[in-house]
């Protein structure tokens, strides 16, 4: 009898809970609105060169700090650049930062959590104390410190945010693994002689994925705010490249003369973060029927 003939993870049975969850998600209006707005911003980021009416870097001294008009729907900034075009291009930095940082956190955090929870022992104890240490430093302060020492640019900001978010995923994954690793299906997989790698990847990982997915969605919202915060402080995307955070930073100097400079980038961050939060909350309810 081989391990394959007694494989306890049936592909069909594995698909059904996800399909059910998707159906539950589709029934939640707030989550659907959230997804629609997220898709809108992703499309905006991808199509920025086509959608933006002007070059986001082109200055125009005759149109400095012009209020919204038919030529410039969102107005212009202190160098006469079109705010709408900069908001559209700025979506790229925000979405890229959100997705890349969370991917880094997932790529490092989840495997560490899987191994730590599954094997336990001394290494697990040490790793958990390291995670405690990282969690003891407030998220943004850790990201600021990392970005400061690595050097201020968008890539380093993404690395800093990703590293700062990693402990959350390690701890979450470890906790989930501890909860399922003594379940009958894992014992059965072990009893038929599956190697650890197969047990971890085929039997444990699919069963701990749901809360990780929810956390990842909410973490994207956190990462977008963090990138905007770092750029606002001058530690993220560097001018003149457009980013919502750095646009807000500039806007603070012209609040009484050009309030629209502060309005649109802030509204963009708020809408995108709110949408990821709505989607994350919807996913949580859809994947955990007890809460639904």
């Amino acid at each position: 009898m081989t391990a394959d003939t007694l494989d306890t993870s049936s592909a069909d049975a594995g698909q059904r809970p996800w399909r059910l969850a998707l159906r539950r998600l589709m029934r939640r209006r707030a989550a659907l609105v959230g997804s629609a707005v997220v898709v809108f911003f992703i499309a905006l980021a991808l199509a920025a060169p086509l959608v933006a009416p002007y070059d986001p870097l082109a200055t125009d001294w005759r149109a400095v700090r012009k209020s919204p008009s038919s030529q410039h729907l969102f107005g212009t900034d202190e160098l006469g650049r079109d705010v709408l075009s900069r908001v559209a291009w700025g979506a790229r930095a925000s979405i890229l930062a959100g997705l890349v940082s969370v991917s880094i956190a997932l790529a490092v955090g989840v495997p560490l959590g899987l191994l730590s929870g599954y094997f336990g022992g001394f290494a697990d104890g040490i790793l958990m104390r390291m995670i405690d240490a990282m969690l003891a430093i407030p998220f943004l302060i850790l990201a600021i410190a990392l970005a400061a020492f690595l050097g201020p640019n968008l890539t380093n900001a993404m690395i800093a945010i990703g590293v700062s978010q990693t402990p959350v995923f390690t701890r979450l994954t470890r906790g989930q693994v501890l909860a399922v690793k003594h379940e009958d299906f894992v014992d059965a997989a072990r009893a038929v002689g599956n190697p650890h790698r197969r047990i971890l990847l085929r039997h444990i990982l699919p069963n701990v994925l749901a809360p990780i997915l929810v956390q990842a969605t909410l973490a994207v919202a956190g990462a977008i705010i963090a990138e905007a915060s770092l750029s606002f402080l001058g530690l993220g995307q560097q001018p003149p490249a457009p980013s919502w955070g750095s646009m807000l930073n500039t806007a603070t100097r012209f609040l009484s003369q050009a309030p629209w400079m502060a309005l649109w980038p802030g509204l963009a961050i708020f809408s995108l973060v709110l949408s990821f939060n709505l989607l994350g909350d919807g996913l949580r309810d859809a994947l955990d029927p007890r809460q639904g």
């Binding site: 104390r129 990282m134 998220f139 807000l248």
Partner: protein, 313 residues
Amino acid sequence: MTTFLLRRLALVLPTLFFVSVLIFGLQQLLPGDPALALAGEDRDPGVVAFLRQKYHLDEPLPVRYLLWVEGVLAGDLGESIRIKRPVRDLVLEKLPVTGELATLAIVIALSIGLPMGIVAAVKNGSAIDHAATMAALWGRSIPNFWLGILLILLFSVEWGLLPASGFVSPAESLTRNLATLIMPAFVLGNAIAAVMMRHTRSAMLEVLNSDYIRTARAKGLRESRVVLHHALRNALVPVITLGALEFGELLSGAVLTEQVFTIPGFGKLIVDAVFNRDYAVVQGVVLCTALAFILLNLVADIAYVLVNPRLRG
């Protein structure tokens, strides 16, 4: 209880060790020669030589770490390269400003979050519950610094009611002190109010469904007494301890809020230090923040056990 205390304290020590390694390690992220990087843009050879000697940069890494820890334990957090003052003095100087801002923010967060959470739980599923949940979602989605900017636009630029920036010490004038802090404290308290509301709501929902509440109602007590006297007292315990975890959020938020409102506190100290490449100050601020967080969590954990007789065992 003693066993719990000892076990909890034993957990703190390795955490402190790793925090120190992490913060010391930040220096290693500097590209190239740390002495050159630490010396700032001038790169005065005298300063470079001084730094090399001061931070024992010629010694092996573990030795440098031990020497650094020895200094920290003796209260020496290094010296600011720009301001030429001990980091410890700078931190102690800025701490009361951020402390006052944070305290005001917590007062605001509690006075919004608690009543909202209670009402949402009591009226579970009603329009008020949905409105409170939406408000909490708004609270955690709106970026601190943008809310600050919007408030400045409204209350300072448009209506001229409050100063847009700056800080007046309470010793100088309490009214002006509050006028400078009310907007930043609201901005900071807003996000925490959202978390408090969610914690209070779920804790209250759990307590309101318990047997002793049913008994209290069966005795014929007024609903307000059942909710405020019987339910809230028990629901508050997890709310307060979970609230301690929000300390990190508070400090992260303070960095941005202090920047928007130009308040000379802890957050502004770290941001200015980052731009001045004053790395010792960055390390000092991060270390103090982490120590405060660890201490607060320890106190919250102990308080949780103290007020919860079932856990005392």
